[in-house]
Symmetry: C2
Subunit: 288 residues, 2 copies
């Protein structure tokens, strides 16, 4: 595995790979790699000859008071994990190359960037869309893979790629979960043992919503109330939101009965650790 630590070198490698007819698969990450990321690598490989993983903790997508400073950085571990998973190139651009000066240019996907995560993390998706645009220009992949864990981010990147005619296929790969259901996340390591246990409630409340909707309980006010009740009964976390959107256009859904597929999303803070999760579910008919 090659470690690439300059933009220029990455471009050169990418140009060479392309002109020798190789397909490039790309997985952009912020490091602290876990099995979820590595499953994205597997997805990237399925459709390409060479897999590039970038590790860059992007300052512009963190808000004030967020965890940019303490975000886990474990490059040596990451390299070993990536190498073991068969990654071909790990791209670790230095901050001073990514942002040599105060950047003036931003990419923004309007509307959808303002809701849910965007409401609780103002400017977050502007930072995300911009850094992904930069990385796509540098790595120039045929395929880029994002995780469904960050469902809204994945939607926004797809929208950006389509609207701006990026010549890349965007693949969104399923969430990987711990055996007790907790969605894998680099932030899970922040959790205390008690919080770690409590955090499983997020997935259980998504599953509760799934079972209610499958049974034709399409009143989302009631579904949300049941989810919130469960979360509050079984944890001390603070909910940021429980929300339902149309997975096609990410618009908020009020009436579950008008849809056949719903994406339920949840965000909660366990102490200082903010976790998100989501689950796409089918809407059934009420029996009888």
């Amino acid at each position: 595995m090659n470690v690439v630590s300059s933009i220029k070198e990455m471009r050169g490698i990418s140009d060479e790979l392309r002109s020798s007819g190789k397909r490039i698969g790309f997985v952009p990450t912020m490091g602290a790699l876990h099995e979820g990321h590595l499953s994205l690598v597997d997805n990237a490989r399925r459709d390409s000859d060479v897999v590039v993983v970038s590790i860059f903790v992007n300052p512009t997508q963190f808000g004030r008071g967020e965890d940019f400073e303490k975000y886990p950085r474990e490059l040596e571990k990451d390299k070993r994990k990536a190498e073991f998973r068969g990654v071909d190139y790990i791209f670790v651009p230095p901050d001073r190359e990514m942002y040599p000066e105060e950047p003036l240019t931003f990419v923004e996907v309007e509307k959808v960037s303002q809701i849910l995560e965007g409401e609780f993390r103002p400017g977050h998706f502007k930072g995300v869309a911009t850094v992904v645009a930069k990385l796509l220009h540098i790595v120039n992949p045929h395929v880029a893979v994002f995780g469904q864990k960050d469902a809204q981010q994945a939607f926004i990147i797809r929208e950006m790629a389509k609207d701006l005619n990026f010549d890349v296929a965007i693949i969104v790969a399923p969430i990987l979960r711990e055996t007790d259901g907790l969605a894998m996340s680099s932030r899970n390591i922040y959790l205390s043992p008690v919080q770690r246990k409590e955090a499983t409630v997020l997935y259980r409340c998504l599953k509760l919503a799934e079972s209610m909707l499958k049974n034709g309980d399409t009143n989302l006010v009631e579904v949300r109330a049941a989810m919130i009740k469960l979360v509050n009964r079984e944890s001390t976390c603070k909910l940021d939101y429980v929300s339902f959107v149309d997975p096609i256009n990410f618009e908020k859904i009020e009436d579950g009965g008008l849809h056949t597929e719903i994406l339920a999303l949840i965000a909660a803070r366990f102490g200082e650790t903010r976790l998100i999760d989501n689950l796409q579910m089918k809407v059934g008919k009420k029996p009888g």
Copy 2:
């Protein structure tokens, strides 16, 4: 010369040219080609094997009440001119492919997009930066050429390409002028014979500023006053602005004495026709 009228076809041609080792030069235009555009073609050719000219009157860069509807469209003439000048591909994407639905994604270069043209044409540069990003993704050129006539636009595109790591060289080519000094522009054809004659005052007042600054008259309040006086004496146009910026960072200059090079910019309306012009000038020392 080949006329390319779909995004997919353009991408295919571009991929093929690249994989056969050809360098692609690109000149994005809104058509109504004049000698100024054709000089950009010459510039593009200098550094590439194949020249692509796009013709797309981009709706998102026109404000309400601007001249989008009546902007000159003369595709057949344009084709002949381009072919005669040796253009290899003319890319004419249909509106429905460029904007198949209400776009949500925008590229914006902050700060510099708000002043001068941005102040008089709100949203203009957001539309420009976004459509240029799209076209660069579709045509995927090695070199793209813009005209200095639209100095602020050229600066913004350069900034965007740098900030977002576009893998393209941006060339800015000098203004071409009619023999009486009027900067070539597709909008000149709107002018009545009287307006056409009066419009030469724009260049003359830029030359007046140049001569004042060369002589060490660095009080820009006085320079501006002299320019405005000349314009008002010799035309009936309405000035939008007369402004001085640092060509390096496009920041407004108050004190001419602190600079060695100044870019003077002017915008004025002759009836309903809005013209812009600019000239970069050296600052001299006051004699004696």
